[in-house]
């Protein structure tokens, strides 16, 4: 199937559904939703040519808030569903979205292999370093000394470094964004979608309810001081010494996306429909 023709002059509003988000006011996920709609409008793809696939968690509610095709799936399995969808329907723009718990813990193994397979889709993780929906348990990206009632004195566990893992596993595009900059995030998402292969965008998206101190992230983020590199070794060195608040494209590789020969489907949808004509 060929990619649909670009649709010029689309407004972000076209991609917003009538379902109003139930996130907490001030939550970074509002911004990510806004950024996704801006990015899709800029990419000139129509909502019916986009699929948003998610797992479980606050941020995984996002498919319902868009007018695109949506799949609010099983915890941690957004990438599995998104991979299957993109392989079967390469004409669609596929966005997998979710949070850090969904993506790096329950879905951690899918994350590694999605990077490795390098299917042409975009994975956007809204990272707030906590399980918000289930009342604030530490997630894989939570700092080891984050003291909370559910983890007194912190977990003491070293945090997961998703960008390094993504690079080591073969992701073809790696960027970090911040919900405090909706337009910059929209721009990074648009670049990620345009880039062939598996694109990973980690968005620092504060949980204002369980991690109110994350409101300060907007003061801590800064543009990455170096231009994007296509040299994985150089990117690895940068990411290993990264302060976690560098914003921008951090790696853009040239791996060929995985696109298996599917052959002709057993039947086109129109052919299937004829079987039901009375």
């Amino acid at each position: 199937m060929n990619a649909p023709a670009p649709a010029a002059g689309l407004k972000p509003q076209l991609f917003k559904s009538d379902v109003k988000p139930v996130w907490c006011p001030g939550c970074g996920d509002y911004t990510v939703l806004s950024s996704v709609t801006k990015a899709l409008a800029a990419l000139e793809v129509r909502p019916e040519n986009v699929a948003v696939v998610s797992g479980i968690g606050c941020s995984s509610r996002i498919p319902a808030y868009t007018t695109c095709y949506g799949f609010h799936g099983v915890h941690g399995r957004a990438l599995a569903a998104a991979t299957g969808l993109k392989v079967a329907r390469p004409d669609l723009t596929v966005l997998a979205m979710g949070g850090d718990g969904d993506g790096y813990s329950i879905g951690g193994n899918h994350f590694l292999h999605a990077c490795r397979r390098n299917v042409d889709l975009t994975y956007i993780v809204m990272d707030n370093r906590v399980y918000g929906m289930t009342k604030g348990q530490p997630s894989p990206t939570t700092e080891p000394d984050w003291d909370s009632k559910l983890a007194p004195h912190g977990t003491g566990l070293r945090e997961f470094h998703p960008l390094v893992i993504a690079l080591a596993s073969g992701a073809n595009f790696i960027a970090r964004a911040t919900s405090s900059d909706p337009n910059g995030t929209a721009d990074l998402i648009a670049q990620a979608v345009r880039h062939p292969g598996f694109s990973f965008v980690e968005v620092l998206s504060p949980c204002v309810t369980f991690r109110p101190e994350q409101r300060n992230w907007k003061e801590m983020v800064h543009p990455a001081p170096v231009a994007p590199t296509d040299d994985a070794a150089r990117a690895a060195r940068r990411l290993m010494t990264d302060d976690g608040f560098n914003i921008g494209v951090l790696y853009a590789g040239h791996r060929k996306p995985y696109r298996p020969e599917m052959g002709r489907p057993a039947a086109e949808v129109a052919e299937l429909e004829t079987e039901f004509i009375l």
């Binding site: 139930v22 907490c24 006011p25 509002y30 009632k149 900059d181 909706p182 910059g184 721009d187 369980f210």
Partner: protein
């Protein structure tokens, strides 16, 4: 000495929206002349700024609706309406048959439009006073943006309209300060929820 007639715009500055309408009427009375490209570009940017601010306040109002904070929702909706009127005024002034396509804040790229309130500064228990403080900051940024334009190397006609817009935004700052006097400042502990979302055991 002949007494000068008081300009109409001085007498009609009751609200931010009303004041902008006066500016529009004044400009419409001027002989029609094709605007320069720089002027048109600047007006597109000004339109985008007002439009972004309207969208942001609308999103804020929806968030407050969802969290049963009707007073603040009403206030954000009012602010959204005012910003929307400003945007419409620019469309009318420029004689655009429809709003310009290049508006979606893409021109701001890696920054926010100056008049858009920060999305992360909301709280579900916030009070009108705090909502107005957010709006005040936004208007101050707008003043700064337009004032900066008057000091730039922009063409004279752009500097002139930027000066007018900066004056309008200053007026908005004054009005919001007036509104702030009508609402009590939140007391200490305003964000204490008797039934908090944080698990306590």
């Amino acid at each position: 000495m002949t007494a000068k007639k008081k300009p109409a715009r001085k007498t009609k500055r009751a609200t931010p929206a009303g004041k902008t309408a006066v500016r529009a009427a004044k400009r419409a009375a001027k002989p029609a002349r094709a605007p320069s490209a720089a002027y048109a570009d600047f007006m597109v940017q000004a339109y985008a700024m007002e439009n972004d601010a309207r969208d942001r306040y609308t999103e804020f109002a929806e968030q407050m609706d969802m969290h049963n904070n009707p007073d603040v929702a009403r206030l954000f909706r009012k602010l959204a309406r005012i910003e929307g009127l400003h945007a419409e005024t620019i469309v009318r002034e420029m004689g655009w048959s429809k709003p310009p396509a290049r508006t979606e804040a893409w021109m701001w790229r890696h920054s926010e439009a100056p008049e858009s309130a920060a999305p992360g500064d909301l709280h579900y228990l916030m009070q009108p006073y705090q909502a107005l403080e957010l709006a005040l900051e936004s208007e101050r940024r707008a003043v700064s943006f337009f004032s900066g334009m008057t000091r730039s190397t922009a063409p004279v006609e752009v500097k002139r309209i930027a000066r007018e817009m900066a004056a309008e935004e200053r007026e908005h700052v004054r009005l919001i300060r007036e509104w702030l006097k009508k609402f009590p400042k939140p007391e200490r502990g305003w964000d204490q929820d008797p039934d908090p979302p944080q698990q306590s055991d």
